[in-house]
Subunit: 109 residues, 2 copies
Amino acid sequence: MTSPDQTLLDATTAARLFKALGDPIRVELVGLVRRTEGQEACFCDLADQFDMPQSSLSHHLKILVRAGVLSRERRGTWSWYRIDNAAIDTLAAVLAPGGPLRDASACCG
Amino acid sequence: MTSPDQTLLDATTAARLFKALGDPIRVELVGLVRRTEGQEACFCDLADQFDMPQSSLSHHLKILVRAGVLSRERRGTWSWYRIDNAAIDTLAAVLAPGGPLRDASACCG
DNA sequence: CACTTGGATTGACAAATGTCGATACAGGCG
DNA sequence: CGCCTGTATCGACATTTGTCAATCCAAGTG
């Protein structure tokens, strides 16, 4: 009748991360960072891959950082982005067989 | 400079699914269906778990169905929802170590 | 200090989203 | 057929989101 208590907290966390990835550009961004040496990429490298204004890209990156999917580090003139693996792990766990959203009798047995 | 070609399609698909899960209520909904016997639940059961108007719940379920996360089947008077495991698998694969968003040298070695 | 460059922030605006009450529709049942 | 019950859809509204141009700030260079 009332909204679920304990699980709602996890659902909120998961939803926040899912939401951050709920845009093709942001999925691409995370994928690009992941494919970069050391899972770290600077803004300038990312900007080369997208045909869009610099401000838009910065905006999407900010959303990913705010959600905890990426972290930003300013090194001299350039901004470097890297993946927060804990966040990805959280989502992977949610979707894994036996996790909150996936029955244990999944693909793998 | 131009937007990535091949991967963009996958990113769009993934983003569509992520977006559908980008709300705590919808995460809860999928979790509830998952925990139900046979991964199938009727609207009435789900409605008991949430303190919100029936129309809102129906709206969220529609979003999940439209995105392909759930499927709806009308059986007599009641609507039954079940998880589309292919969709969950798609996202799990995206987040898995070695997947598009996760470095291979992840948690598991 | 003046200038340039990388990148973040702001402002404006259209479009999408979440929420709710009201209404419509579909399937039993009298 | 008329009525109830379960669920979907509609209409209105406030909030959020994505996009772009413009501006601002920080760091390096002359």
